[in-house]
């Protein structure tokens, strides 16, 4: 029974028609990194545009500068729906979850392949933005009445959401069934990897909330193209209804990104500290499931300034602040795992440590935004912009990069280049802070979000120049990082079987990279086995 992949050689058919979870994971990674790259170019264009007061790159000033709105749309939609969610719940969950639970594949391999191709179809719909003359210009939120009245192609936005949402729902069903029924014999619920738990909770959120987003954007589609009146108050519709439905999904979507990102960090921190997870049960049942429980009750805080009765505003403030409790449990658990650890700082651990810093900044700046007294002042300023870029954008992106570095030897059988990897890391880490920290400062002073022309606030121009500089530093870092992956995958040094000395199943029981069927021998685990048994 030979398990090596070398004997096979490359076969395009075995990749395009694959139903293997590892290959599907790699397809997810390639697609999401492609979305990330294009959306990243949009981000740089946005930064360059804002680096001077008047028009810088925008060429259609006479007709309102709509190009800029298209960049904002693509950047937001592609980063969240095309990169973060598929990168975490598509790539990372696909490749590593079955390995961690000792399964040969997921429960429905063909459904899994269906998911990844639906994801690519969604990416195609998003990329059509650059082909058509009436590109979508509705941000990633698509608020009516603008999204209904615009001459832009809102339909492409809707179908992008539909396709990616359908892929997510199928993925959720598939992975939940896999974890419930396909764990290795002997593996109990308290022996699961933190990453497995984080993915399970993220998929529970996807399963319940994505359908509501699908319903909301469908109504948008009908309103714009079939003449219905869901969001048209003149005919008895309700314009705020969309915002409610949208955030009913899209706030929990933040946790769909946060949870697997935290799960990845737990894996890396445990491995590089050689410690078991501190407070495992509190982190899983209180932290992760606590987030699932509260996730569906806080969406209205996105509508603070859209208008609502005071009692709802106060209630939302309380429930929003309550999110700190489960998140706090997870943070305690993470720092507790580091405590007295034998820590080594390989590239993945550098990213993981940076994530803790980004998490702190992003988390703390969320508190004033939850407080009703502060939020009226801060809403729609670049303070919000910087806050969610710290907590969602950069934090989760760094977690995806940490995951790629951490499991690089598993996926390719090669070690990731350390020098180029670390160099890329420092460019990325310094760059993101140079870009986004200053935006907090001008946000407090009243710099509005989303403007390309802020001639009424000339005092903010120098800060925007610094932010652009930061974005260029990040661009160099990202280029070095992706270059490093390509170089290392082709010509990297051969990796030892378990380079980071982890005791989790994906490192101890299957070769690098695993062949079809994953494990040379069927896996069973004993009652005292845990994926973090470092003898401490």
């Amino acid at each position: 029974m030979k398990m090596s992949t070398e004997s096979h050689g490359f076969s395009l058919k075995e990749w395009v028609f694959t139903t293997d979870h590892k290959r599907i994971g790699v397809l997810y990674l390639i697609g999401s990194i492609a979305a990330f790259a294009v959306a990243g170019i949009m981000a740089i264009m946005i930064r360059i545009e804002q680096s001077s007061l008047g028009p810088t790159l925008v060429a259609d000033v006479a007709t309102g500068g709509n190009q800029y709105n298209v960049w904002l749309y693509f950047h937001g939609a592609a980063m969240i729906l095309g990169f973060l969610i598929p990168g975490l719940t598509g790539f990372a969950a696909n490749y590593f979850l079955p390995l961690m639970i000792g399964a040969k594949d997921v429960a429905f391999p063909r459904v899994n392949a269906f998911s990844v191709w639906l994801f690519y179809a969604g990416i195609i719909m998003a990329l059509l933005t650059f082909v058509v003359s009436d590109a979508p210009d509705v941000m990633w939120t698509g608020y009516p009445p603008y999204s209904v009245l615009t001459s832009g192609n809102t339909a492409f936005y809707v179908f992008t959401v539909h396709l990616l949402g359908f892929a997510s729902i199928l993925g959720a069903v598939n992975f939940l069934v896999t974890v419930i029924y396909m764990r290795a014999p002997g593996m109990g619920w308290n022996q699961l990897n933190m990453f497995v738990w984080s993915t399970v909770t993220a998929f529970v959120i996807q399963l319940v909330f994505v359908p509501v987003l699908a319903a909301a954007v469908t109504m948008l589609l009908f309103d714009k193209y079939l003449g219905t009146h869901f969001f048209d108050p003149s005919q008895g519709g309700d314009v705020l209804l969309y915002q409610n439905l949208f955030w009913f999904y899209s706030h929990p979507a933040v946790y769909v990104i946060l949870l697997p990102a935290l799960g990845i960090l737990f894996e890396i921190i445990a491995t590089f500290s050689k410690n078991p997870i501190f407070n495992y049960k509190a982190a899983v049942y209180g932290g992760m499931w606590g987030i699932v429980l509260i996730a569906g009750e806080v969406w209205v805080h996105h509508l603070y300034i859209s208008g609502m009765p005071d009692w709802i505003r106060i209630g939302q403030m309380v429930s929003t602040l309550m999110i700190s409790v489960p998140v706090g449990l997870l943070a305690i658990s993470m720092f507790g795992t580091l405590y007295r650890g034998a820590i080594t700082y390989a590239t993945p651990m550098k990213y993981a440590t940076a994530c803790l810093f980004l998490f702190l900044i992003g988390g703390l700046t969320g508190i004033p935004l939850a407080m009703t007294v502060m939020t009226v002042h801060l809403s729609e300023t670049s303070f919000v912009h910087a806050h969610f870029h710290y907590i969602m954008g950069i934090f989760a992106t760094f977690a995806v990069f940490a995951a790629v570095y951490y499991w690089f030897p598993k996926m390719t059988g090669k070690m990731p280049g350390k020098k180029l990897g670390d160099l890329g890391f420092w460019f990325n880490f310094i760059g993101v802070n140079v870009t986004f920290f200053p935006l907090f400062l001008i946000g407090v002073q009243g710099m509005p979000r989303r403007y390309w022309n802020y001639e009424m606030f000339p005092q903010f121009e120098p800060i925007h120049k610094i932010a652009m500089l930061g974005a260029l530093i990040v661009a160099v870092g990202m280029f070095l990082t992706i270059l490093n992956w390509i170089i290392s995958a082709i010509g990297g040094e051969k990796a030892p079987a378990n380079p980071w000395k982890s005791v989790s199943l994906e490192w101890t029981h299957c070769p690098n990279p695993p062949g079809p069927g994953n494990f040379p021998k069927d896996v069973t685990v004993s009652a005292d086995w845990t994926p973090y048994n470092y003898g401490r």
Partner: protein, 254 residues
């Protein structure tokens, strides 16, 4: 939690069904819709639909034939998965219903809005309820026949179920036709918006359910059946049936 201990084939598993199905969906839904409604280019819309439909059917039929011939990693896993998928379906309907409730409850005395016919036909939904409930029962009989290895009986009762489902759709078409004729279309007012979306979305589920039944029936004609597949088809159909009670009570009789 146990693995099947059968020897796992040590080659990369492949199937072209998912990719072809996805291509079919991409052409048939987003591209056709965009060509027809956004760009008003009906020729392109026809071409896209013409490409998408055969791809979709090809993908589905390949998938079904593989499902009937390949042994899954985990025996009998589909009946465990479908209820989880149905949770997500429930939430789509909840999204639609809560939108309807929000519009209706905030309208106060202005309901039903101007343009709604004074008398909606309340007999027809009763007939449709009877049709759908009996189709659930006939499918139950069909499953009973399958359990007793009576493939012929299974086929007959399945066909009766499909006919009942088609009659239900016929009622929907008749009703839509009538309402459109008297000027109550999807864009008339907030009520018509909710009415057509909710009943239409339910009807689309009836169509999908009938499609699944066909995918069970066609191989059954050749004597090929899978009890898990048949069970799932039934479970989905019962779900569609249960949703109809909410549609009927909320949209027609409230």
């Amino acid at each position: 939690m146990s693995h099947s201990t059968t020897e796992h084939a040590h080659h990369w598993e492949v199937s072209w069904a998912p990719l072809v199905l996805t291509a079919g969906i991409l052409f048939l839904v987003p591209l056709t819709f965009a060509a027809w409604f956004v760009y008003q280019n009906h020729l392109y819309a026809m071409v896209f639909a013409g490409i998408g439909t055969p791809l979709l059917l090809l993908g589905v039929s390949k998938w079904v034939s593989e499902g009937l011939s390949h042994k899954p990693l985990l025996e009998g896993v589909s009946p465990k998965a479908l209820p989880i998928f149905i949770i997500s379906e429930v939430f789509i309907f909840l999204g639609l219903f809560s939108s309807y409730w929000a519009m209706r409850l905030s309208a106060g005395d202005h309901w039903p809005p101007a343009g709604t016919p004074a008398e909606m036909n309340l007999v027809l939904p009763l007939v449709m309820t009877v049709l759908l409930v009996s189709s659930s029962l006939t499918y139950h009989v069909a499953e009973h026949k399958l359990d007793h290895h009576d493939i012929g009986g299974f086929r007959s009762w399945l066909m009766i179920t499909i006919v009942l489902g088609l009659l239900f759709l016929g009622c929907t078409i008749y009703e839509y036709n009538h309402l459109l004729h008297i000027g109550f279309g999807p864009s008339t007012n907030a009520y018509s918006t909710a009415f057509y979306s909710i009943t239409g979305f339910h009807a689309s589920h009836v169509i999908v359910g009938l499609g699944i039944f066909l995918a069970v029936l066609i191989p059954a004609m050749a004597g090929k059946t899978n009890k898990y597949f048949a069970f799932c088809a039934g479970l989905y159909w019962h779900f569609v049936d249960v949703v109809w009670f909410f549609v009927a009570t909320q949209v027609y009789y409230w």
